[in-house]
C-alpha cells in the first residue's frame, strides 16, 4: 500500500500519479498497481516516470477498466504497488538519444534525468512523437540538450542518430521496430517492450517474448532488451 500524494490530469486521458515510496528504483523498471479487489482480477504494470526518495511518479493513459479506476483516485487514497520489477535500462555513459512515442515517453523521463545526473557533460537528445496532443515535452526540454517534437507524423522520418549515441526507445511496437531498423548497426539500441502480465515477477510465463537467445520474460528479463535480441534487424 502506498499513499497517493497527487493524481492529476496532465493531458486528455493522461494522468500523473505520485505516491509516497522510498526504495531502490532504476529507470525503466515498473510497478504492478492495483486499487481494486477482483474486478479486474490482475494488477496493472506501469513504468516509473520519475523517482526521488519519498516520491515515486507514474504517468499513465486511461485505456480501460484498471487505468480508469486509477484515474479516479485522489490524494490521501491508497494504491497497492508491487515493485520495482524488471531489469530497467542499463547505465548509459556515452551520448544518449531517446525516442518516445505516446505514453511510451513515460519511462524515458526518469531515464533522461538519471542520465543527466550521472553524465553531467554527456549529450542527450530527445525525440517525442504523439498522435495528436503532446504532453511532458516541456519537462524533457528542461533536462535535455535537444528535444524534437512530432505530432501526427512518423517520428523515424525526423530521426537522425549521431555516431556513438546510445539509442533508447519506448512506444508502440511498430514505432520501436521502425526505430530499430532505422538506426545504424553501429549504434546500440535498447527497446522497452510491453506484454500482458499476470505475476510481473517471472512466475507465470505469461509475458514471454521470443528472442535470439530463446524465450525471455518481459517482466523479469526485460522489459528492456537490446534491439537485436527482439527485432529482426
Amino acid at each position: 500500500m502506498a499513499v497517493i500524494l497527487s493524481n492529476t490530469l496532465v493531458a486528455p486521458g493522461i494522468f500523473k500519479m505520485t505516491v509516497a515510496f522510498t526504495g531502490d528504483v532504476k529507470p525503466g523498471q515498473f510497478f504492478m498497481l492495483r486499487a481494486w479487489d477482483k474486478d479486474p482480477l490482475l494488477s496493472r504494470p506501469i513504468s516509473v516516470h520519475n523517482y526521488e526518495p519519498g516520491q515515486l511518479t507514474f504517468l499513465y493513459q486511461v485505456v480501460g477498466k484498471g487505468t480508469e479506476i486509477l484515474s479516479r483516485l485522489q490524494a490521501d487514497d491508497e494504491v497497492t504497488i508491487q515493485g520495482p520489477y524488471g531489469n530497467g535500462f542499463p547505465e548509459i555513459t556515452g551520448d544518449l538519444c531517446v525516442v518516445g512515442g505516446g505514453i511510451g515517453t513515460a519511462p524515458l523521463y526518469y531515464l533522461v534525468r538519471h542520465y543527466q545526473e550521472q553524465n553531467p557533460t554527456g549529450n542527450c537528445r530527445v525525440y517525442l512523437g504523439f498522435r495528436d496532443i503532446a504532453y511532458g515535452a516541456d519537462a524533457f526540454a528542461a533536462l535535455a540538450d535537444e528535444v524534437v517534437l512530432d505530432i501526427g507524423g512518423i517520428i523515424t522520418h525526423k530521426l537522425t542518430v549521431l555516431p556513438g549515441e546510445t539509442v533508447v526507445t519506448c512506444g508502440p511496437e511498430i514505432m520501436m521496430a521502425a526505430v530499430a531498423s532505422a538506426v545504424p548497426a553501429e549504434n546500440t539500441v535498447y527497446v522497452s517492450l510491453e506484454a500482458h502480465m499476470a505475476c510481473g515477477i517471472g512466475a507465470c510465463l505469461g509475458c514471454t517474448c521470443e528472442t535470439r537467445s530463446g524465450n525471455k520474460k518481459v517482466c523479469k528479463d526485460g522489459p528492456v532488451f537490446v534491439r537485436e535480441e527482439v527485432f529482426n534487424v
Partner: protein
C-alpha cells in the same frame, strides 16, 4: 508447524494443506522475495515435459470477469534441466515438493516418469488435463478409460506416489477419478483449467494462437467445488483441490467438501501473499472454532 493444520495425504506429512498450484508459482524462486517457502504446506513445480518446450506463440494471457485465461502451453525446461537446475534448490526447502508432469504420448509420459525416479520427490502430479497443448495430455484426461490406462502404466513405473490431475472438460469427473483410483493412483488433484475462448472484437480475431485456452481464477470456483465434492464422494484416495480459491474461506469450503489439501493458483497473481494469508486464516479458524485440527471439518458436507 501448526498442530491445527498438520495434514496427512496418505502417509505424506504436510505442515499445512496449502500448496501453490502448478504453473502459477514457477519453481518457487520468485516468491522467495515475499516469504519463506518453508511456510507452505508444499510446492508444486511448473508442468514439466520430457523435452524442453518453448510454449505457445502469441498472446498468452487474457483477463475475463473474475477469471484469467492462459495459453502458456507448458513452456518448461524439460525434465533433465529441471533435475539439474531446479531440483537441487527445491529439495533444500523444508516443505513437500510435488513434481507436475505432462506428456504428449504414452512414451513421453513414461520416459519422464522414469527419469524422475532418480530424484526424491514426495509426490508426482500427473497432468492429464492441460487444455493448451497436446503435450498437456488432455486427450487422456477427458475419458475415464484412457485416464485409467495411462495412470496404470505410470503407477507401475514410478517409485513415487502418483496423484492424477483431472480435467474439468471431459466426461463425468467422478467416473474419471474412479478409473484413476482403480488404476492405482494414490491421489487425485483437480481442477485444471476450463477450456474457454476469447475473441478480440476490435481485431476481428481470436485472441489465442491456439484458438482455445484455459480459464482459471475466482470465476471457476463454484464448478471446482462441485467437482471436488463429486470426486471426494466417489473415491477413497485423498483429493488435492483447486480452482478459484482466493482466501481462507474458499479454502475451508473445499475442505468441507472433502479435500485433503488445496492448491492456490491464479490468486497468487492478484495477491502474492495469498497462500500465507490462507494458512493464517485457516489456523485462526481452527482456534476460533475450537478445532484440534482442520481435519475435523473435512468432508462434513
Amino acid at each position: 508447524m501448526s498442530k491445527y493444520l498438520a495434514t496427512k495425504f496418505n502417509d505424506i506429512h504436510f505442515k499445512n494443506p496449502v500448496i501453490p498450484a502448478s504453473g502459477t508459482f514457477g519453481f518457487g524462486r520468485e516468491y522467495e522475495a515475499f516469504y519463506d517457502l518453508a511456510k507452505l504446506g508444499g510446492l508444486c513445480s511448473k508442468g514439466l515435459t520430457l523435452e524442453p518446450k518453448s510454449g505457445n506463440t502469441g498472446m498468452r494471457l487474457w483477463e475475463t470477469p473474475a477469471g484469467l485465461m492462459n495459453s502458456i502451453g507448458l513452456e518448461n525446461p524439460g525434465i533433465d534441466a529441471f533435475i539439474e537446475n531446479e531440483w537441487p534448490h527445491l529439495k533444500e526447502i523444508d516443505t513437500v515438493t510435488i513434481v507436475n508432469v505432462g506428456g504428449k504420448d504414452e512414451e513421453s509420459y513414461l520416459t519422464a516418469i522414469e527419469k524422475l525416479n532418480a530424484i526424491d520427490a514426495q509426490l508426482i502430479e500427473l497432468n492429464i488435463s492441460c487444455p493448451n497443448v497436446k503435450a498437456g495430455g488432455m486427450a487422456y484426461g477427458i475419458k475415464a478409460e484412457t485416464a485409467g490406462e495411462i495412470t496404470r502404466k505410470v503407477v507401475e513405473l514410478s517409485r513415487h506416489p502418483i496423484m492424477v490431475k483431472l480435467s474439468p472438460n471431459g466426461e463425468a469427473v467422478a467416473d474419471i477419478a474412479r478409473a484413476c483410483e482403480a488404476a492405482g493412483a494414490q491421489g487425485i488433484s483437480l481442477i485444471n483449467t476450463l477450456q474457454g475462448m476469447a475473441i478480440d472484437y476490435k481485431k476481428k480475431a481470436v485472441v489465442f494462437d491456439n484458438l482455445y485456452a484455459g480459464l482459471s481464477g475466482p470465476a471457476v470456483k463454484p464448478i471446482a467445488l462441485r467437482m471436488t465434492h463429486q470426486v471426494c464422494q466417489a473415491v477413497k484416495i485423498p483429493v488435492m483441490a483447486m480452482g478459484g480459491i482466493s482466501d481462507w474461506k474458499d479454502a475451508l469450503e473445499f475442505i468441507m467438501a472433502g479435500a485433503t489439501c488445496l492448491q492456490i493458483g491464479t490468486i497468487n497473481f492478484n495477491n502474492p501473499m495469498a497462500p500465507i494469508e490462507i494458512i493464517a486464516g485457516l489456523e485462526a479458524y481452527c482456534i476460533n472454532e475450537g478445532l484440534a485440527n482442520i481435519g475435523e471439518v473435512r468432508g462434513i458436507i
